[in-house]
């Protein structure tokens, strides 16, 4: 069978000043695929992008493009273009000249350039703004110019480094759809970097979850959400209650002092495991009908549903429900077997999935930093 991988990273390691940013990193990306590298700041996702773009040479391992090793091929010779985090539009050139930049470098005839630029600006809905100065454009328009400038060069692979981070929420949603449509239409491989899990889930064919320079899980958005491999992934993607458990036998697990039927198998008898239950998969019932019982310690109304925290034997569960409950209420929890997901113990066990410090966590998330990333140069 023909090798349909367009980009392969094999055994890559990168270190800055003795600190390992990527460590024995392996990834294969198929042609025309929309792949997202997802992870918190400093996880190595931007570094991965820069390796492919050619701004960085790995300390070890191979970068392979269409079956050819390109470790030492400089960036300007690669069929790859980048959309930069802050767009990196050339401030001394107008919209037209920015889009024409790469074509002029290729020394294309003026007529061809004009046709191409016009086509690209039409594609990103910026027709008529050719003569505008970059600094007179809105953030969204600048973003579009950056896209037009990159795809004007017909790259085989487009690298997008948190391109939507600087846009406001509504614009970001629109751009997500538009980018996805554009990718399907143009048939270009997109490698998209973000720390926004929702963005990753809505746009990608495949998501690569990264942390500390290592891949935590690769899979479709559904896989990643429904079958997280470890506590880090479960916590980073969506909300999760993660509790210690013991796999008594196949399809039978014990946690929070109770025993539950589940759909997982293949563990050693009595193997300690992490148990994940998503907040939306828990039903609240009367205390005497619950498989678990606890006391409501906080309630937040979020519009679509309530988010309530329930204390069960000292462990705080988050539950999303459309019914109203009040602080101090005693409630029962009912969990279907298919809502229970079992993971092997990992280095992340015990670090995530408890909502006892919930309010602080919200503060921490709200000032998520999109500015700083990886620090790789």
């Amino acid at each position: 069978m023909k090798n349909e991988n367009i980009v392969e990273l094999k055994g890559i390691s990168v270190a800055f000043g003795g600190e390992k940013v990527l460590d024995d990193f392996n990834l294969e990306i198929k042609d025309k695929e929309f792949v997202t590298l997802l992870g918190p700041s400093g996880c190595g996702k931007t570094t991965t992008l820069r390796l492919i773009a050619g701004f960085l040479e790995p300390d070890g391992g191979d970068v392979i493009f269409e079956g050819r090793r390109i470790n030492d091929l400089p960036g300007y010779k690669r069929h790859v273009n980048t959309i930069f985090q802050r767009y990196a539009l050339f401030p001394h050139l107008n919209v037209y000249e920015n889009v024409a930049f790469g074509l002029r470098i290729k020394k294309l005839p003026e007529k061809e350039i004009k046709a191409k630029v016009t086509e690209m600006l039409a594609l990103v809905n910026l027709s008529g703004l050719e003569k505008r100065n970059i600094d007179t454009l809105s953030g969204g328009q600048q973003q579009r110019v950056a896209i037009a400038r990159a795809i004007a060069n017909h790259p085989r692979v487009l690298l997008l480094d948190e391109p939507l981070a600087a846009l406001d929420l509504k614009l970001r949603k629109d751009m997500q759809k538009e980018l996805k449509k554009m990718q399907e239409q143009l048939g270009i491989t997109f490698i998209f970097v973000t720390h926004d899990q929702e963005e990753a889930l809505t746009m990608s064919d495949r998501v690569v979850v990264m942390n500390n320079g290592k891949i935590q899980q690769v899979g479709t958005p559904q896989d990643i959400y429904n079958e997280p491999l470890n506590a880090f992934v479960a916590d980073f993607i969506g909300e999760s209650n993660i509790v210690d458990g013991k796999m008594l036998r196949d399809f039978y697990v014990e946690f929070s002092g109770q025993r539950f039927d589940c759909l997982d198998k293949g563990f050693e008898p009595d193997e300690p495991v992490d148990v994940v239950v998503r907040p939306e998969d828990v039903d609240i019932v009367a205390p005497d009908k619950g498989m678990l019982t606890g006391v409501v310690t906080s309630v937040a109304f979020l519009g679509v549903h309530y988010e309530i925290i329930v204390d069960i034997g000292g462990f705080k569960w988050m539950i999303q429900t459309t019914d109203e409950h009040f602080e101090g209420d005693r409630v029962g929890l009912y969990i279907e077997p298919d809502a229970i997901h079992i993971m092997k113990k990992s280095e992340y066990s015990g670090l995530y999935g408890d909502y006892s410090s919930y309010s602080e966590e919200i503060d921490h998330l709200s000032d998520a930093d999109y500015g700083e990333e990886d620090g790789g140069e």
Binding site: F84, A88, F90, F101, I105, N133
Partner: protein
């Protein structure tokens, strides 16, 4: 309070310009005195036009100023780019410290140390005259360089590092990336550096004094004139220089306001 502030500003300006006005006034004196005004005349100005030493010195000054400004701008801009890209903090610190020496040091020390070097080299090469055009030019480049570097560096620091990468990404070679993207972004710094270098060189007396030998520049001629008793021709020369600088500054200012209003107009959608 406001009136008092205005009065204060006016007084300081008067203080700054009193000697200048005196100089302009006496440059039109009929007699050769710079004390007693006897009558109005242009004689000192017409006399200048035929003064060969003066014209030669003017030529020397301009040659040295233009050459030293151009060379230090090229060398300094390249150095600034290199320094910005330096990863080694220690060598960066050393280079920057050495760069600041000519700015911080007293001119007389810079001038003398350069003179000693030139004489030493002259002796090595067995030259009869160690000082001259080349040495004064070298000296000027040396004291211009830090000003160029320090006016380009902040511009480079302000320039988004991804601009260069964007250029490379779009197919530029590193050299093309510099000329097509980085240069335009730091052009104001380069121009400022060039203008500073040019004017510093025009005006320099102390360092030229120790390094020029017989290649005398205008400030040296003026120095020699003020050593003897001064006649209004020196004032006439200075008045001309003053008028030129004045005109240049006004022009520069007008250009700046114009480009700003243009920018402001462009910003309107």
């Amino acid at each position: 309070m406001k009136a008092l502030a205005r009065l204060y500003v006016a007084l300081i300006i008067f203080f700054l310009y009193a000697p200048v006005l005196v100089m302009i006034f006496f440059s039109f004196n009929e007699s050769s005195s710079v004390w007693v005004f006897t009558g109005f005349s242009f004689d000192w100005y017409t006399g200048l036009a035929t003064d060969v030493t003066m014209l030669n010195a003017l030529k020397h000054t301009l040659i040295v100023a233009v050459l030293s400004a151009v060379i230090s701008t090229v060398l300094g801009t390249a150095a600034a780019v290199g320094i910005t890209a330096l990863r080694n903090k220690f060598s960066k610190k050393i280079i920057m410290s050495v760069t600041q020496i000519p700015m911080m040091n007293a001119d007389i020390v810079t001038g003398i140390s350069l003179m000693l070097l030139f004489i030493f080299i002259g002796k090595l090469l067995g030259l009869r005259e160690s000082l001259g055009f080349l040495t004064v030019l070298t000296a000027h480049i040396t004291f211009n360089l830090p000003y160029v570097i320090l006016s380009v560096l902040p511009k480079l620091r302000q320039t988004d590092a991804s601009l260069r990468e964007a250029a490379l990404d779009l197919g530029c070679t590193p050299l093309q990336a510099f000329f097509k993207v980085i240069m335009p972004a730091i052009s104001t710094g380069i121009i400022t550096g060039f203008i500073m270098a040019f004017t510093l060189s025009l005006d320099d007396f102390v360092i030229s004094y120790f390094t020029c030998g017989h290649y005398q520049t205008l400030p040296i001629i003026i120095y020699n004139m003020t050593k003897k008793s001064v006649t209004p021709d020196t004032y006439a020369l200075s008045t001309i220089i003053f008028a030129c600088v004045f005109a240049l500054l006004i022009m520069y200012n007008m250009l700046q306001t114009k480009s700003e209003s243009k920018k402001a107009a462009k910003a309107q959608p």
